[in-house]
Every structure is written in structure tokens, then in C-alpha cells.
Subunit: 478 residues, 2 copies
């Protein structure tokens, strides 16, 4: 009956990486286009990945005493304008509500592109004494940015994210918070998503609108481009001054508190796809895969096969794994391709001969390796294999990062590396905006970050020849 | 140091129920007003209640094979207009986006007041065969309705909710789904929130815009007013026809599928407050209380008291309870009042004499009853007490519902009951809109629902004297 289902081919990534990427997004049923340009539908399988990422982050936030809140989604124009740098950065990409019901609004309202101004407006009302600090808040929500060009997960006009917002008595405390959250993101990427990261600070040009300092984690995609995967900002007292947030300190002196914000969005799912995916489709890291194990009966019309497969599903579920059995009438070949496309980390096959021999066959999505597993050892071996897959994915991505990280000491050299496929290119830098713009102009790369782990590659800026201040990483970015 | 903190008084509910209600919302730090009229801030304590409700519902949805998705928040005007009854119901309260960046939009976009049209637009693209059905989707999000008058939790311009949307091959299946979700809501209310419900169907006048049938659960608040707490709608094929959603059935015939939607919002938190609260503040049902047990040291300056109290916190946490210890320098009196205001179900007091005697004192928030508990039996007794508190709250609310449920056989009688404090008033009804409007006009009540459990109270409609079709419940509603 159901054998009319076909596995559709996707474009090879070597042929057209961008086309391969959108093919995977669609064919793995992660996302679908909607009737509004640049706004996407997160389908059940895509949303389930996001839910698993949410659970991992939310647990980490709560363990570190952060509390979730919910602010309104609309910001009055006058509120957005209070912090000067912030409004310059965000106003050009706001969507504006001008009509409520049939009534024209006296002041237009923007759908939040980010919520600093809303948190500050609230804090102005509730912060009075040093006893009210720190405030460690987080919000799960969607935000809107009216982008001109959009791509699934990487750039939506509306995207889901979490935005943390905290307020502290001192700069030291606020900076420690900013760095702690960067570590949380790095931990998520490396230990959950199997994506190695480079930690660093953004240049003034690239930092968040209104921030004193922006920390970032940068990941390298399969095509050697960079993906900014999570950012954490220290604001100093700029917003607090603009919004008149003040507390009396222990000496009874009115003081402006120090502020941070930090965010990670559904963009990271694009990163997962472009880090681990292959020409058969998605490859999901086991810790956030909606289905960690797919159990497939072989020759399921034979007596006892479906029952045995169902038994394995039950045992793996009882062991706390996310497992599914597919007992539909589609052919095994169709099922193989389908769950490969969906990136299910491990396939468990069981047929009459396996049952007789008291084992099953496990097939790794990452390597294609087949492992015969005794049924008596099923739960333990499957858990081990999932752990090995995580490590394998991380090692492979790390290798890609390391093999395509370069150092250069001239603009020409940077340009050559870019023309030969590019990657992360380290140089020294004088710190001037002019040289940052010149590098973009001449070599086609933007600054990704000034790594927290600095190296001394030389004494001068490769662009202007003046004394170098910092090592910086250049790259082509999503 | 911190003894400057004061417990602020709230208005007695007997003096001014509406003022009491907003006092509780603010003083228990559930909600705060924002800079946008009618939009509220859910503070950490209020949001934590919502998160616990979400977890309870989400688990139930997933156990019944529903999948979460995320649709765009903006609806093009032409999409909203496709289903005629629906647009008439919602267009007057839409907020419209007319500007994107600096550019005027060609078609204005409304912020979703509900998402039927978005789901249908998507389904039009992905539904082809009977094999694609049923589709059992749910979405957690916020929606906007440009209300003229607003009240914390009960009526916001923006509120958080879940909206389930499902598509089925047959009417029977869709109706079964609609009823199943009503049962899920009733289960949540009764067994989690300790709020007894009346299950019923809405009249045509009160049903959801575009629905064939709307099921509802109605709860009675402390002031005897009704709160519509969750609704579940059967749409027939109306939307499917308007959006051209069609599947080929097993006989290869093109067919329109049958549709449902169902929603429950943060409004339910208003219901919890008005069902269980008292003049000392909030009273939370234990199963969703962010803090189920507050442990307070008595004479905490005495040696060993704080350590012992911390030990109790650790033991109760290990037993899986949400527990907090307050070791601040605020006075015990302040702490008692603070956690009463916050509705913490159980207070555990431990002082030097208790330690000596090997027990602690548990104080129930619902009844004020003090129970001495042997420390050796701490975890078991505290869990039992929480269960007893749930039952106590339910019994009290049930008593309120039963004592203020009346039957009437004339408009005059209904009016008399309303003038004497009101409640849920059952009468027969002919089914005509005219009589429904007349009852509103003459007795000041609206129809709440036609209960699923019907009783035969007589043969005629009390308004027009014509043959009765149904028993109906009238009341004053939030």
C-alpha cells in the first residue's frame, strides 16, 4: 500500500552547498516556507530539535539561579529610542504596528527585535536597593528582524531564541556573568551538539548595538564558513543611565547597576546541519536527536520479527532512550534512506537470522559502520555507541576546524587562503576600524573574533604595518 | 539589615474583590504593568507557575501523540479573510503591522490572534493522501487581541497560551479529538489545579468564530462568577474548504478533512488566584506551586538551627520536592507573611526546641492547621500533607460550586438569584438566540454552557414558553 512513497534525492554538497543545505532543511522535514516572505514554519521534527536544545540550556540556566520571565512583544518607539547606539542598530530592521483594531495608534509599536529596552523599563520600576541585585533573568520567545535576504534557520525575519538579561551591582560581577554564559554556550556546542567552538570577543564594528563588549563563539561549517553561534554582551551602565535604573548601595549611595545580555537562537540548528550533515541528509548529534535509535524489522512478514523488534523498542525506551520502531509497509530500502535523511544517529536492524543468532545489527549514521550486538547487551552497547557517535562527530568537526585554520602575515596571504577555499585565518591587528574595513575590501573576509586564547604571531598589523594589539580571526561568515 | 522590608497589606476580598485580586497579582509578584497599555510582564514567580502548567499539559499532549510546531506570528490580511466567520470574529481586535523597516508593506500583516489560518495554509501544501492523516499539532506561543479593557491574567492584549490544531479523515475522529482535549483540560483543572469544572458546549452565539461546535470547561470563582478556562473546537470541513485542503481517501476520492483546535492560556492563573486565594494572599495548588515547601528556621541565631534547617531542605529536595529555605535576616513574622502572600502550600518551622524534641512543625497554607512531624518521617509526611492540601483545596472549591449552583424555571427567578449573589443557574432553553439575549437583558447573565451531563428540569423555555431543547447554565462571567 504505502510503497508509493519515494525517497527524494538531494543535491550533493560538493555540487552546490547552498542547494544541498536547503534540500536537507526541506527533505528532512525540519522547515517549510510560509505565506509571509522570510518567515518559516518549524515543522514537528525541526521543532523537536529546538525543544531538546531548550531543555539542555534551560537546565543550565536554572542550575545557575536564572529565572525565566515574559515581557511584552511590543516596544513603543520612544522606549526603543532611549539608548542611542541601540536604536541606530535595530530601528532599520523593525516591523512596526501602527493599527490596533480599526484605530490608528498614537505611537507606533515595534515588534521586539531584542528586549533590552523592555527589561530596562521594568527594572527602572522594581530596582531600588543593593538587596534587589543581582537580577538574573531569561526569556524564551520569538523576535522579529525585517531582513532583506533570508535563509532557513540562518536568517529569518522571525526566529525563536532565548535572551538572558541580568543586572549587577558591579562591573566585575557583570563581566563574570557575561563570561559564564559564553561558557554555557560553548559547553552546549561542544558537549551536546558536538560542535567545536572558538571563543573570542567581537571588534567594535561587529559588537552588539549598545554593548561595551560582545563575546562570541564561532563555529566552522563544512564549507569552511564561520557561523556566529551564540553571543554574550556586557553593557556597562549605558542602558541603566538611559533608563534611569539606580540602586542605593551598602553605603546608601545611588548607583547605576551593570548589565548583560546573551542569546542563542534556532540559527544553531542551521549550524548542526552544516557541521555534521552529508550527502545522504541530516546527521544529528545523539544528545539532541528527536529519535536517537530507529529499530527496523527485516523481513517483517516472517513470524515473530515484528514482535521481537517491538520488544527491542520497549527495552531501549525503558533504558531512557528516544527510540522509534517503523513497522509500516514501506520497503527496508525506503526506511533506510528515510531515517538517514532524518539523521537518526543509530539504526538497529533485526531479522529472522539475527533472532536465531541472538543478536541485532547496529548501523552508525555518522560512519556507516555495522556492529553486531548481542541482544543480552543491547541497552549497554547502544548507549555506548551513541556516546561514540557523539565523540566521532566532534572529532570530525574538530579536524575540519584544525585543518582549515591558518595564520597569515599579509593581506595577500589572507586573500590567497580565501581563494583556496578559506577557513579561519589568524593575523595580528592594530585595532583600527580602517584596517578591518580594508581587509574586507581586499581579501573578502570579515573579522570573526579576537580569540580569548591569544597567540603572538608577530608585532605588526598586516594591513597598515603599525604595532599590533591583538590576534584576530578572519573568515567568510553566514 | 534587611528588616526594613515590610509586608504590605492587601485589600480584603469582602471589601472589594476586584481590588483584592489585582493586589494579589502585584504583591505576590506574579505580574507587573508594562509601558504598553494592556500588555503585562510575567514576573519570575508568575512565569514559574505557567511553566509548571505547561509541563503538565505538554506531557499529556505528547503521551497522546501530539507534536509541537511553530508557525509565523504574522498573518497576511488576505489569509485571515479566507474563512468568512473567522475574520468577522477576529479582525476587529487585530494589531496590524504596516511598516517593515522603513518600507510600507504592500499587504498589511496581523499579529496572530489565533493561528487556524496559518495551520490551514501550511496543511494545504503538505496534505495529499489519507496516509498523511491525522495531523496532531500543538503550538506554545503568545497571541495578540486588541482588547479595550484589560485585567491581569484575565484579559491581556498579549497572552501566552497553547493552541492545538488537528486534522482528521472523518468527523467522528475529529469530534473524538475535540472531546479528548476537553478531558485533558478538565483533568488538568481538577487533578492538578484543584479546580472543579463543568463540562459543556457553547451556544452558537458564544462559540468560537468559524467553529461548528465549541466545548468548554467553566469554573466558579470565589465571587461566584464564571471563568471559561479552556475551550475545544470542532470545525467540520469549513476551513478545509476555504483553504482548499484535500486528501485522496482509500478509495482514491478527493476529500476535505475535518479539523479541530483547542486552547488554554495564562488566564487559568487568574482562575487559580480567584478559586483558592484568601485575604492573606495567594494560595497555590501544590502540584504547580513553584515553591511547594518553605523551610523557616526559628531563632536562627541559636547554634545548629540553620544547619538543621538546611538539612531538612536537602532531604526534601532529594525527595523530589520543590523546596526553599529562607535564611535571610528578615524576622520570622515577615517571612510567615511573605510566603503566605506567595501562596506556598506548606511551611516547615524548625527551632531549638523542635530540634531537641526531634520534630518540626508543618503549617498548612490552606487551613492554617499546625502539624507536628517527627523528623524521621519528614519526607513521607510532607508528601502526604501536600496531597491532603490538594484534596482540601478541591473540596473547598467544589463546595463553593455546589452551594452556588441553582435551578430556576423563570426569568424572574434567575434575576432573583443573581441579585442575591449569583452563581451557576440552570434552566431549560428552547435554543433560540432571542431568548439567550433576553435573559442577558432581563437578568444580567450570559449563557455559560449546555452541560454535557444534561438534566430534565422541565419542558419549556423559561423565556418564551416554547418547548425546551436543552438544559443550559447561566452566569456572570469574567
Amino acid at each position: 500500500m504505502a510503497t508509493d512513497k519515494k525517497v527524494e534525492q538531494i543535491t550533493d554538497m560538493e555540487v552546490d552547498f547552498a542547494k544541498w543545505y536547503t534540500d536537507v532543511c526541506k527533505k528532512a522535514e525540519l522547515i517549510e516556507y510560509s505565506s509571509v516572505k522570510g518567515m518559516f514554519i518549524l515543522r514537528p521534527y525541526g521543532y523537536a530539535i529546538w525543544e531538546n536544545i531548550q531543555a539542555e540550556l534551560d537546565r543550565r540556566f536554572k542550575e545557575t539561579e536564572h529565572q525565566n520571565v515574559y515581557m511584552p512583544m511590543l516596544i513603543p518607539e520612544s522606549l526603543l529610542q532611549k539608548e542611542k547606539d541601540h536604536v541606530v542598530g535595530f530601528a532599520p530592521e523593525c516591523a512596526w504596528v501602527t493599527l490596533g483594531g480599526s484605530e490608528e495608534l498614537e505611537e507606533k509599536l515595534c515588534i521586539r527585535p531584542t528586549s533590552e529596552t523592555l527589561f530596562c523599563d521594568h527594572w527602572h520600576n522594581i530596582v531600588h536597593s543593593w538587596r534587589d541585585l543581582p537580577l538574573l533573568y531569561n526569556q524564551w520567545c520569538s523576535v522579529l528582524r525585517w531582513e532583506k535576504t533570508t535563509r532557513p534557520f540562518l536568517r529569518h525575519r522571525e526566529f525563536l531564541w532565548q535572551e538572558g538579561h541580568t543586572l549587577h551591582a558591579t562591573a566585575e560581577e557583570a563581566i563574570a556573568e557575561t563570561e559564564q554564559q559564553l561558557e554555557t554556550y560553548a559547553d552546549l556546542c561542544e558537549n551536546v551538539l558536538a560542535m567545536p567552538v572558538v571563543r573570542g570577543c567581537k571588534t567594535d564594528k561587529e559588537k552588539f548595538a549598545g554593548a561595551v563588549r560582545t563575546y562570541t563563539i564561532e563555529c566552522m561549517m563544512h564549507d569552511r564558513k564561520a557561523l556566529q553561534s551564540g553571543t554574550s554582551h556586557y553593557f556597562g551602565t549605558g542602558f541603566a543611565e538611559a533608563f534611569d535604573i539606580s540602586f542605593t548601595d551598602k553605603e546608601n549611595k545611588p548607583t547605576n547597576p551593570h548589565q548583560t545580555s546573551w542569546g542563542l537562537s534556532t540559527r544553531i540548528i542551521g549550524g548542526i546541519i552544516m557541521t555534521h550533515g552529508d550527502n545522504n541528509g541530516l546527521v544529528l548529534p545523539p544528545k539532541i536527536a528527536p529519535i536517537q535509535v530507529i529499530v527496523l524489522p527485516i523481513a517483517q512478514h516472517k513470524e515473530g520479527v515484528i514482535e521481537k523488534a517491538q520488544e527491542l523498542v520497549g527495552r531501549l525506551k525503558a533504558a531512557g532512550l528516544r527510540v522509534k520502531g517503523d513497522f509500516s509497509e514501506n520497503s527496508p530500502g525506503w526506511k533506510f534512506a528515510e531515517y538517514e535523511m532524518k539523521g537518526v544517529p543509530l539504526r538497529v536492524e533485526i531479522g529472522p537470522k539475527d533472532i536465531e543468532a541472538g543478536h541485532c545489527v547496529c548501523v552508525r549514521r555518522d560512519s556507516g559502520e555495522k556492529i553486531t550486538v548481542e541482544l543480552t547487551e543491547l541497552e549497554a552497547r547502544v548507549s555506548e555507541l551513541l556516546e561514540e557517535i557523539h565523540k566521532g562527530l566532534f572529532a570530525k568537526a574538530k579536524k575540519n576546524l584544525e585543518e582549515h585554520s591558518f595564520t597569515a602575515s599579509s593581506v595577500e596571504e589572507v586573500k590567497n587562503i580565501v581563494e583556496n577555499g578559506g577557513g579561519f585565518i589568524k593575523t595580528m591587528w592594530c585595532g583600527d576600524l580602517e584596517c578591518e574595513l580594508a581587509m574586507k575590501e581586499k581579501a573578502g573576509v570579515s573579522s570573526r573574533c579576537m580569540p580569548l586564547e591569544q597567540e603572538h604571531l608577530g608585532n605588526v598589523c598586516p594591513v597598515c604595518g603599525k604595532p599590533a594589539q591583538k590576534m584576530i580571526i578572519w573568515g567568510v561568515a553566514y
